[in-house]
Amino acid sequence: MTKAIRSSRGGNALSPAVNAAATVLLALGSLLCLFPLALVLAVSFTPERVIALNGYSILPAALSLEAYAFLFAEPLRIVRAYGITIFTTVTGTAVGLLFISLYAYPLSRRDFRYRRFFTFLVFFTMLFNGGLVPRYLVYTQLLHVKNTLLALILPLLVNGYFLLIMRSFLSTTLPEEALESARIDGAGEFRIFFSIVLPLAKPALASIGLFYTLRYWNDWFLSLIYITNDRIVNLQYLMYRVQLHIEELQNASMQNMSLQAIREMADIPSENVRMAMAIVGIGPVILAYPFFRRYFVQGLTLGSIKG
């Protein structure tokens, strides 16, 4: 039996000892990566008082749901924020990818006469921008997107850096011959773009898509400046606000809050809420990695010219 396995090893296979050692080593490495996450999870379920007494512990002396109960005191609020975040992330990523590939593709074509000008247009925005106040003026008084979902999508939609990555990818990997042959077969520019260019660009789309997803998912600043309506804030911003609200309450000694109110607020948890927010904030975005990885592999193994 052993012999059969051994003989099945190819010339490059590892010896069982090295294999075992590597497995153990990599398993340890994975555990090291998982440990902080497990600790955060454990602390999020620890009662505040136990944290104050014993500090963080992977095996808490007591368990409680107080942090989650506090966060989900108004379940609708968090669910709505989740909905907003998922919507802006999905829409923003999809539309953003479409926009930058539509922009990057012509720039990658050597026969496009104005490509220097349009490249410079993008490049310029990477070096200079108008600053916060003018940007705020444009979005609120010209485009009137304050307190709308567009305010959470529009400002991140086209990113010069991503666009230039896309352009470089297309101009280095897109074979002129493939476009040529498509044209000979009678395909128009849009046909070429959607049937040839986009499928070939999958690896770039996947990595840039991941960047986009993370940017939209982790964004809280847009909510901070453009949203004053509590119903359309996203998840990260809601968390950020809860965190600062807790800090504010802890430093509230100088304020004339009514005593009644102080007493009611006294038992608000803080350390465990911080961890619970991290857990809630990770959410489905953790699934984005495996999803996009599939396309990396697919894209890399795809042959572009056959025959």
Binding site: A52, P106, R109, T148, L149, L244, N256, L259, A266
Partner: protein
């Protein structure tokens, strides 16, 4: 351009993009139907509040407030725009900079009031206050109104409340009782040190004092902050006999205090993780701390006690002091973008001079959000508390005249008399009324703020030896331009003294 990407195709692509964009626009329709910031009818008064409360019944209270305003001859619709504490400063700065319509705005020295006045963000309401604010001229202490003026002009209503503060210690009453430590016997730092030694020895699981950021050694000395904007910008002894400003780090009594703090740290009287821990409240509530160094007002002990869940004794080290930045720390201003400054002042006048309106704004509607329990005493309506009430903004200290507030359980019947006594007994800073304008040294200010944030903790908590840490910090701050800041403040202060004293 035979094989080229023709301009026609490019144009079509652009058109397609435009169509996509237009398709995305209706997304905004749902949100925009309930835009709170666009109260554009001229008969509206938009009041911006800084609160984290949910205010579910806000519309109901606004309705009632508008009715009340009408009955008082101010026919406007009041709308309140609550902005959370976390982003209040940034959001309101942008709203001011972009000239967005606002009628009344909560502001303060710590939110950049003086800088905003310099930029013309607020209406000069000196004359309006004289002419229109009939009730407030009676209900607000004139000294307070004078105190918030800038160069003799009024840009905001002060929110009348206690204005005198003292630095000192908060102790746990149960431990003081247990070891027979009398409050009266804690007059000096040496007395406190004795109590710390006792606690350290007898209650090994309790740390005698827990460092809370920005406090520690800075609260063990008495000085005038002279116009605020950070202690590194220059302080002077209380009273004005010596009017030469020095940075706190170079203020001789501070060196003594820092040495004391360091001695305490070495003796184990301060939590050993003071350099990193910001966990003060949790540690205190868990009963692992004996005392807190800090700034106190008249009811700070009761408030802290309520927050920690056990009784707290306050022991001020010094006579309370009234300083510019305390008075300036709660203001209601009328932004330049207002539709009508006069209407805004009328609304503010009612809030500060009319008890019914004041309490409506602060606590909501009687029998819905609160109930009367006799006289001026109130309590939550049955089943409600600060967390589940549909209207509990919890910010009487920033809305308007606190002396008009109803009395809640725990507050004494003679609250206002006690406030007035506390304020009256206090010392007034020599520099009261002077406000430092950091604009000329803006660059140095931000450089110094960064440097100060790096170095203050080891010194204030006593973790480092001040005899080496302070000179090092001074060197760092000098390099960041501290001397130019102190000199600029001295120049402004001298000019102010020449004009006002």
């Amino acid at each position: 351009m035979k094989h080229g990407l023709g301009m026609r195709a490019f144009g079509t692509a652009l058109a397609a993009a435009a169509v996509l964009f237009a398709a995305a626009v209706p997304l905004s329709a749902k949100g925009s139907s309930e835009k709170p910031g666009t109260a554009s009818q001229s008969a509206d008064v938009l009041w911006v509040w800084r609160t984290d409360a949910a205010l579910k019944d806000k519309a109901m209270v606004e309705e009632r407030a508008s009715e009340y305003l009408k009955s008082q001859g101010v026919a406007v619709r009041l709308s309140i725009l609550p902005i959370s504490t976390a982003d209040y400063q940034q959001k309101t700065q942008l709203m001011i900079a972009s000239g967005e319509r606002m009628d009344i705005l909560f502001t303060a020295s710590w939110l950049g009031f003086t800088g905003q006045v310099a930029k013309g963000a607020f209406k000069d309401i000196t004359e309006l206050f004289e002419k229109v604010a009939v009730r407030s001229r009676k209900s607000i202490n004139p000294a307070l109104v004078e105190g918030v003026k800038i160069d003799g002009r009024l840009y905001a209503f002060p929110v009348q409340q206690e204005v005198a503060l003292a630095d000192g210690f908060f102790f746990r009453r149960d431990l003081m009782k247990k070891y027979g430590v009398e409050t009266g016997s804690m007059a000096t730092l040496a007395d406190v040190e004795k109590a710390f030694a006792l606690i350290k020895q007898r209650e090994p699981s309790v740390v005698p004092t827990y460092f809370n950021k920005d406090e520690g050694a800075a609260k063990l000395v008495r000085y005038e902050q002279v116009g605020g904007m950070g202690t590194f910008t220059g302080v002077m002894p209380v009273g004005g006999s010596d009017r030469k400003l020095v940075s706190l780090l170079e203020y001789p009594p501070f060196l003594e205090a820092a040495r004391t703090m360091h001695r305490w740290f070495q003796a184990g009287y301060v939590n050993s993780d003071a350099l990193t821990s910001d966990d003060f409240k949790a540690q205190m509530s868990a009963g692992k701390v004996f005392s807190k160094i800090g700034t106190m007002g008249l009811y700070s002990d009761v408030q802290l006690g309520a927050s920690y869940g056990f009784e707290v004794v306050k022991v001020p080290l010094f006579t309370p002091l009234i300083q510019s930045q305390t008075i300036m720390s709660k203001l209601q201003a009328v932004p330049t973008s207002t539709a009508s400054a006069e209407t805004a002042v009328r609304v503010l006048d009612l809030a500060n001079g009319d008890a019914a309106f004041n309490n409506l704004l602060n606590f909501g509607i009687e029998k819905v959000h609160y109930v009367r329990t006799g006289g001026n005493r109130v309590d939550w309506a049955p089943g409600l508390n600060a967390k589940n009430s549909g209207y509990a903004p919890n910010i009487p200290w920033q809305v308007a005249n606190v002396f008009l507030n109803y009395l809640w359980p725990g507050e004494p019947d003679d609250r206002n008399a006690r406030y007035e006594e506390w304020n009256a007994k206090a010392d007034s800073a020599y520099s009261l009324g002077f406000v430092f304008d950091p604009e000329p040294v803006k660059t140095e200010m931000s450089a110094c703020q960064n440097a100060w944030a790096q170095v203050n903790r080891p010194i204030l908590s006593g973790a480092f030896d001040p005899d080496t840490a302070i000179p090092a910090a001074v060197k760092l701050l000098r390099a960041a331009g501290m001397d130019r800041i102190v000199a600029e403040k001295q120049r402004q202060f001298d000019a102010w003294t020449a004009k006002n004293k």
